[in-house]
């Protein structure tokens, strides 16, 4: 009786491992690890190749049981786009901070009494800020969708993040199409003065005046022109890919949606990164520049330093002229 009990226990514990012991003894364990650890593995591996079969359900990809592209896209988003995007944005911010610490703001010598020049009309400023406001609504909501799980879950908890992410998605989808309209208005209004002109390259060679030597420029310098065309290029990519993502229910196949998302994400991160430079140069980096985009007026000394080839009457503002009595805010 005792021996029977011992044999039962031994059998119970050893029988399940007998196949492993046998395979191990016959040196088949290595091949088991790679291809045959699950007899159905090859079957599922074949399924994941995406071969189309038959399904009574209609619609794009309905005949494919498992589409592995979705997994590839997820890996790209989580392992490439999110980390490298954050490295890029962080590097740009860090570079700006270092540059500001070393160089400080670019200042112009102010004449007394200050003579003011009209640089941007009301409409031009409205269009600029319209685009900027929408850009930052979309940038912040987009960043929440991409990085929220890393940054916000520790702060808000899972439920709080779910609510924030849901709200961000709705806001992103809602304001996206308005941004396209804003981008169109911006391009139409500012394109005329942003084409390449003689002297732009020498401005670039002189580092835009940041390297010590004065760099001449017209109404917009070459850096501003590059930013303008980047806005158009990246904005167009974001707009088209965003429309595809916004109307995902219009029978787009999975690969189109994945491609749209990849392009959308890359373009958006580049756009945000470059915008840091634009914001820096337009605010604390160059004294007196922000005023041009808020009140419309800049000091003559500022204009002579940064845009000495610009004459107010060759700007896009029809009413542009020297306005000695303009608001001094």
């Amino acid at each position: 009786m005792i021996w029977a009990g011992v044999l039962l226990l031994l059998g119970t514990f050893t029988l399940p491992v007998l196949p492993y012991l046998w395979a191990s003894a016959s040196n088949d364990i290595a091949s088991l690890d790679t291809v045959q650890n699950n007899p159905r593995a090859n079957f599922w591996r074949n399924v994941r190749t995406g071969t189309a079969g038959y399904s009574a359900v209609g619609g794009p990809e309905a005949n494919v049981l498992i589409n592995n592209d979705g997994q590839n896209w997820r890996q790209f988003r989580m392992r490439l786009l999110a980390p490298y995007g954050s490295y890029l944005m962080g590097a740009v911010l860090f570079t700006i901070a270092i540059f500001y610490a070393l160089r400080g703001p670019v200042q112009h010598l102010s004449n007394e009494p200050k003579e003011l020049l009209l640089r941007f009309s009301v409409y031009q400023r409205v269009v600029h800020w319209f685009t900027a406001i929408l850009f930052w609504i979309l940038a912040l909501t987009g960043l929440i969708l991409l990085y929220g799980r890393f940054v916000l879950i520790p702060l808000f908890g899972s439920s709080g993040f779910a609510l924030t992410a849901s709200a961000s998605k709705e806001a992103h989808n809602l304001f996206g199409p308005i941004f396209i309209v804003a981008l169109f208005l911006l391009v139409i209004e500012y394109a005329r003065d942003n084409f390449y002109r003689k002297g732009d390259l020498s401005w670039l060679i002189k580092g835009g005046g940041m390297l010590g030597k004065h760099a001449s420029a017209g109404r917009f310098n070459f850096g501003e022109k590059i930013w303008f065309w980047l806005v158009l290029l990246l904005g167009t990519i974001i707009s088209f890919s965003g429309i595809i993502l916004d109307f995902a229910n219009l029978n787009f196949d999975r690969n189109t949606l994945e491609l749209a998302h990849v392009l959308h994400g890359i373009a958006a991160i580049l756009f945000i990164s470059v915008s840091f430079g634009h914001i820096y140069l337009g605010t604390i980096g160059t004294k007196g520049t922000l005023r041009g985009m808020t009140t419309g007026y800049v000091e003559q000394a500022w204009a002579e330093l940064h845009h000495d080839k610009w004459r107010p009457d060759d700007g896009a503002t029809p009413e542009a002229s020297r306005v000695p009595g303009a608001p001094n805010e």
Binding site: V122, Y123, R125, V126, W129, F130, I133, L134, A162, L163, S166, A167, E170, A171, L174, F175, P177, I178, V181, A182, T294, T295, G296, P327
Partner: protein, 212 residues
Amino acid sequence: MSDFILGPFWNFAVIVFTAGVVGRIAMILMCGLSKDLAAARGSSVKGAAGTIARRFFPRKETIRSNRFHIIAGYMFHIGLLALLFFAAPHVQFLKNHLLGFGWPAMPHWAFILSAEIAFAGLILLWLRRVMHPVTRLLTRLDDHLAAWLTFFAMVTGCLALFESFAGLRVLHVLGVELLMIYFPFSNLMHAFTFFLSRGASGARAGRHGVKA
């Protein structure tokens, strides 16, 4: 917190809104009009009705110079009215809680389009207000508060559209409540008083036989 927002605070907002709007209109009506001693040369009723209707359309003499304001203004007001009276959740709310009857709501795509038009109009109008040197000088805190509260109520409504989270709906209700409480004491009263001001000047002009 949600219970307070959906319960007592909602009742408070409704009372302030109703009493405030009725009170202000009553005060305006009680001021009355100075007696017009001139002999009547036309109908004051026709003049009032005509002016109320005519001023919905911009004068052709000022279209060119005011086109930005006109377009953005119509975008915002038409978009907002469509959202207010034809968004499915609003129609349902009015039917269940206020009127007892409803009407066909607009489809989802029309809701999104209306919201986008209204948002674009509101942002553009506010930007013009702060960018134009004259309107900037004329702008008071009241104008900013009205614009921002309207924006807040609209945006929270859009965020709560799919009602995925009760919290978003409560946030929208809070936005609407704040707007309702502020409404009677602000320039937002023009939503009710524009009839009176147009009607008064139209009636007087109509009685004199001229168009206002």
